[in-house]
Amino acid sequence: MSKIELKDIDFSIGENKILKDINVTIENGEFFSILGPSGVGKTTIFKIITGALLPIRGSIFVDGNIINDVPIEKRNIVMVHQSKLLFPHMNALENVEFGLKMRKVTKEKIREKVNSLTEFFNMEEHMGKYPHQLSGGQQQLVALMRAIAVDPKVLLLDEPFTGLDNNLKNYVKAYIMKIQKKFCITTVMITHEKEDAFSMSDTIAFLFEGTVALVDKTGNLNRKTGINSIDEYLGEITTLEDGRIIFSDRIIEI
């Protein structure tokens, strides 16, 4: 439940500039999406926020405190990777417990916490299984559980629906929304799917070629933005009175 600010972030690999002048503020408890085609540095932003990568220039603030020098494990920002990255040698339960164990939480508290999560996610029968025995959707839920278990300040979701079919996707999606409501975690999601971004988020940032082209409330995005690249990317959109959005080809609900 924190506010994050990225100020003037630059990042490059060799000569290759990946991110330029990223300035974003994500409000406390907000569901924030970063939308853009693949390969524009979305994941890099996440890695910078978590601390896996260090920016060449710029600062990251959480609740007004600069965290550039805080090591990864002290930031309490958890990222759910698009390929889930469950630890293959641990079963689902151990995966979920991992973060808590690292924090030296007492055994009873761990049990309590994990039980309530298991119940919440309806995963009772699967906790003894190893990652490769779980389906894609279940893996994603375990990854979510693992992330939430440590009560992160910020939850980062990197393309959370990769590899899931429509049914599973809706299933996972519902859980994400539910978590967000229940725990009020500031959540940032990376996606290239317009519908997901529009249907889930409070605010959307458009990332093109390493720069943020536009940040706005979802509700305000019901017409042409006036920025060519974004309009081209989004195509025709109309917001109906009941809040549904019509893209050129389909209707989605918010």
């Binding site: 890695k47 896996a52 090591p71 920002i77 958890v78 990222m79 390929s83 690292m102």
Partner: protein, 262 residues
């Protein structure tokens, strides 16, 4: 079906090709004569084994396996360090740097020994330490190659995830990296061990009388005409090596035990 049969046959031939020499070694360790006209080898003997155990050579063998294990351990640790550095940085000359670590594999051992002997003689370090450095020099690239190929395919993402969840660097390494990569590390260790264990010229040329290793006592016998002795020494040489390899694999399995349980 035909195709499958063909593949099997090729595989069979390959394995036969690899195993026959081992078989000949076994035969010659227990026999001293097998003439062209004889169908079976004659003159069963334990002379070779008797000699091996009567002389202090079995002890030298153990000493040199331990030395090589130390070398392999250091080489593996160093190669993990290098791999982690290479995988997590994006410097411009990464490939050049990587190639530098392969250089020792390509340089002829004798050239390096002859060349570096002068260096070590001029420096204040002892010959045992010089020997250690050269052993690491030659085994490091192999260990590095193994480790780095693991790292470059699977990255360190899992570890970063763990750290995101609050694990410190060492915790992440111990609980996540080690179990996942252990096969690769064991591979590097074994490879480095093998390279160090089979070095002959380094010990000969750089070392002193305290650094006699198994290869060094084995080689003259092999090059001489008593096949029984040669075979026994080769057999024992392999035996020591295999024991070390099995022990390390076992340890690796133990570390990755949970994984294999699944």
């Amino acid at each position: 079906m035909m195709k499958k049969f063909f593949y099997r046959v090729v595989l069979f031939i390959i394995f036969t090709f690899l195993i026959l020499p081992m078989l000949s070694m076994l035969i010659w360790s227990f026999f001293s004569n097998w003439r062209a006209i004889d169908i079976l080898p004659s003159s069963f003997t334990f002379a070779g084994f008797n000699y091996f155990f009567a002389s202090k050579d079995w002890y030298i063998g153990i000493k040199s396996t331990i030395f090589s294990m130390e070398v392999a351990l250091i080489a593996t640790i160093i190669s993990i360090m290098v791999s982690r550095f290479l995988i997590s940085t994006n410097i411009k000359n990464k490939n050049t740097l990587e190639s530098i670590f392969y250089l020792p594999m390509l340089l002829p051992v004798i050239s390096v020994c002859l060349g570096s002997h002068k260096l070590f003689l001029q420096s204040p370090i002892s010959s045992t330490f010089a020997l250690l450095i050269l052993h690491i020099y030659f085994s490091l690239p192999y260990a590095f190659k193994m480790t780095y190929s693991y790292y470059s395919i699977w990255g360190v993402e899992e570890e970063l995830t763990a750290r995101g969840l609050g694990a410190s660097f060492w915790q992440a390494f111990r609980y996540i990296n080690l179990p996942i990569y252990i096969q690769g590390y064991i591979g590097s260790f074994i490879m480095a061990f093998i390279i160090s264990y089979s070095q002959y010229f380094i010990n000969l040329f750089i070392g002193n009388h305290n650094n006699i290793n198994f290869s060094m006592i084995m080689t003259p016998y092999i090059a001489n005409s008593n096949r029984n002795i040669a075979a026994v020494y080769t057999l024992m040489y392999i035996f020591y090596g295999v024991v070390v390899m099995m022990l390390t694999s076992l340890m690796g399995k133990n570390i990755a035990r949970k994984k294999s349980l699944s």
